[in-house]
């Protein structure tokens, strides 16, 4: 009886998406209601196989979350051919740099198969930050951690590629700039 009543009053589609969001690292410290606020700020779109989400050089304005399907991130090499950077599956976030600054996309994203994606826009994040700061701050903290992790990896890759520490050349360059 209680189950039927609950089913009658609650939105099963909304519940399913909330369960999906709860499984993401960005939402692990959020309560149901707070996830609900985030959910209302997200837009969803289904992309067909081979359909581009954005191309390298497009101005980015949103963060993408893969709900179902797979998305390939690629970057044009010096030969002009696209080189795969990553293949992203359900629960993965990308395009977060667009939420921090409106700069051209550094890579292209194409749906490898029929995929459903959730989009979070900068204006919606601003609204979350002012109206529901707990949710906004949680997202910003997560983004900062993601960017920090990627920067750490990039620094390590750079160091191993140059056979030296990453700090060396950057400090030299700064000293030159100061002169």
């Amino acid at each position: 009886m209680w189950k039927e009543l609950r089913h009658f009053f609650t939105d099963s589609h909304f519940r399913k998406r909330r369960d999906f969001l709860r499984s993401l690292p960005v939402c692990k410290d959020l309560r149901d209601r707070e996830i609900g606020y985030l959910q209302q700020s997200l837009h969803s779109r289904t992309y067909h196989e081979g359909e581009p989400l954005f191309l390298e050089g497009d101005i980015g304005r949103a963060l993408f979350i893969v709900e179902t399907g797979r998305v390939e991130l690629s970057k044009a090499g010096q030969d002009g051919k696209p080189h795969r950077l990553a293949l992203l599956g359900p629960g993965m976030l990308f395009g977060e740099m667009a939420l921090l600054e409106q700069m051209p996309r550094s890579a292209s994203a194409v749906a490898v198969e029929r995929s459903s994606l959730l989009l979070l826009y900068r204006s919606k994040l601003d609204s979350l930050l002012s109206r529901h700061p707990v949710v906004g701050v949680e997202i910003m903290t997560h983004l900062a951690k993601v960017l920090s992790g990627r920067l750490r990896r990039t620094s390590d890759d750079l160091a191993s590629a140059q056979g030296a520490t990453a700090a060396g050349p950057i400090v030299e360059e700064m000293e030159k700039a100061d002169d």
Partner: protein, 349 residues
């Protein structure tokens, strides 16, 4: 461009038909946060809207039983006293005219005497009996009272699905841009409409209590009038001062109470400027007073009373579109990379 021009022309031709839809859209903007409040708790949108309508209907019924008799009693009283006020105004103007004639003999007597004793005020006095017909011309608006809630119901219910359909149909590479425009317009317009309602309510309540404390008649009617007129900047204060001071003058036959009424409305206006406006303007679109006035004049000229009603929200939408278009233009056409944020050149540790 041609499509936009064609749409504007159609909107101009059909503006009377589009009024209920525009009003419904505004009402939907107003009610949407309430629906969202319950939706985040996992409740079905359709059930929330039905329950909301039920609650609003019951609240209106209760308000009608309490407020309508009070307002209609005030209006009946006002109607009964209007001839007396009219006569009194004649006497006051006559005395004023005699005083002017005594003090300023330079004005030719024939201009102010005889049958033309009230010539200067004649146009105003001629318009006074026509006031009921002006009020009657607003009657078609009352038919909207039935149409607007009906359309609003479907706007509230189906808007998310329509938006979802639009996103799906939009070419994938332009989805980001289209949704950016939509969210900018939605947030500025929604906040503007909600802010306006808060303003109207706050001014009405403050005026009512102020007038009751001063013991001025028709406090509810004057406060409501002032609250509604506050849609136009300074409109509420000006109307409140004029109507409130006139009523107080006829009621008390002195200048002291009308001055107090004027001080009350000026005080409310200042409090609104200091306390309410910063709160309302925080998230809503800011329109320069010149643009505000221009929007009202253009709206009034093109669409009459309806145009006045929708001029400012329309100006907000146009400004949001211009801001987004400029933002898009500058970000798409920039050739040099933007400067990195301060501290970005420091080594990562």
């Amino acid at each position: 461009m041609a499509v936009v021009a064609a749409l504007l022309l159609v909107a101009y031709r059909l503006h009377e038909v589009l009024v209920p839809f525009a009003l419904s859209l505004a009402l939907a903007f107003l009610l949407n946060p309430l629906v969202n409040y319950f939706e985040v708790r996992g409740l079905r949108r359709s059930h929330i809207i039905v329950l909301l309508y039920l609650v609003v209907f019951l609240a209106l019924m209760a308000a009608a039983n309490i407020l309508f008799p009070a307002v209609s009693a005030e209006l009946d009283l006002l109607q009964a006293k209007v001839p007396g006020y009219y006569q009194k105004m004649h006497e006051i103007l006559g005395t004023f005219q005699e005083g002017v004639l005594k003090r300023l003999p330079l004005i030719p007597a024939e201009k102010l005497s005889g049958g033309g004793s009230l010539k200067l005020y004649q146009p105003v006095l001629e318009q006074l009996p026509k006031v009921p017909s002006y009020v009657l011309s607003l009657v078609p608006l009352f038919s909207l009272l039935f149409l607007v809630p009906f359309i609003t119901f479907f706007v509230l219910l189906d808007a998310p699905a329509v938006l979802q359909r639009f996103i799906q149909l939009c070419p994938s590479r332009h989805v980001e841009q289209a949704l950016h425009i939509f969210s900018e317009v939605e947030s500025s317009l929604g906040n503007y409409i909600r802010g306006l309602l808060i303003l109207m309510l706050a001014i009405s309540v403050a005026s009512y209590f102020g007038l009751v404390i001063l013991g001025v008649n028709y406090a509810l009617a004057i406060a409501t009038l002032s609250g509604v007129a506050s849609v136009i900047p300074y409109g509420g204060a000006v109307l409140g001062v004029v109507v409130g001071a006139l009523v107080a003058f006829f009621q008390y036959n002195n200048i002291w109470v009308p001055l107090q009424v004027a001080a009350l409305f000026i005080g409310i206006r200042l409090a609104d400027e200091a306390l309410l406006q910063p709160f309302i303007a925080k998230h809503s679109m800011h329109l320069h007073p010149m643009l505000f006035l221009l929007a009202l004049l253009v709206g009034g000229k093109l669409f009459g009373f309806v145009g006045l009603l929708f001029a400012v929200p329309a100006a907000c939408v146009i400004k949001a579109l211009v801001v987004v278009a400029w933002d898009w233009y500058t970000s798409e056409t920039q050739t040099a990379p933007r400067e990195a944020v301060a501290g970005a050149r420091l080594p990562y540790v």
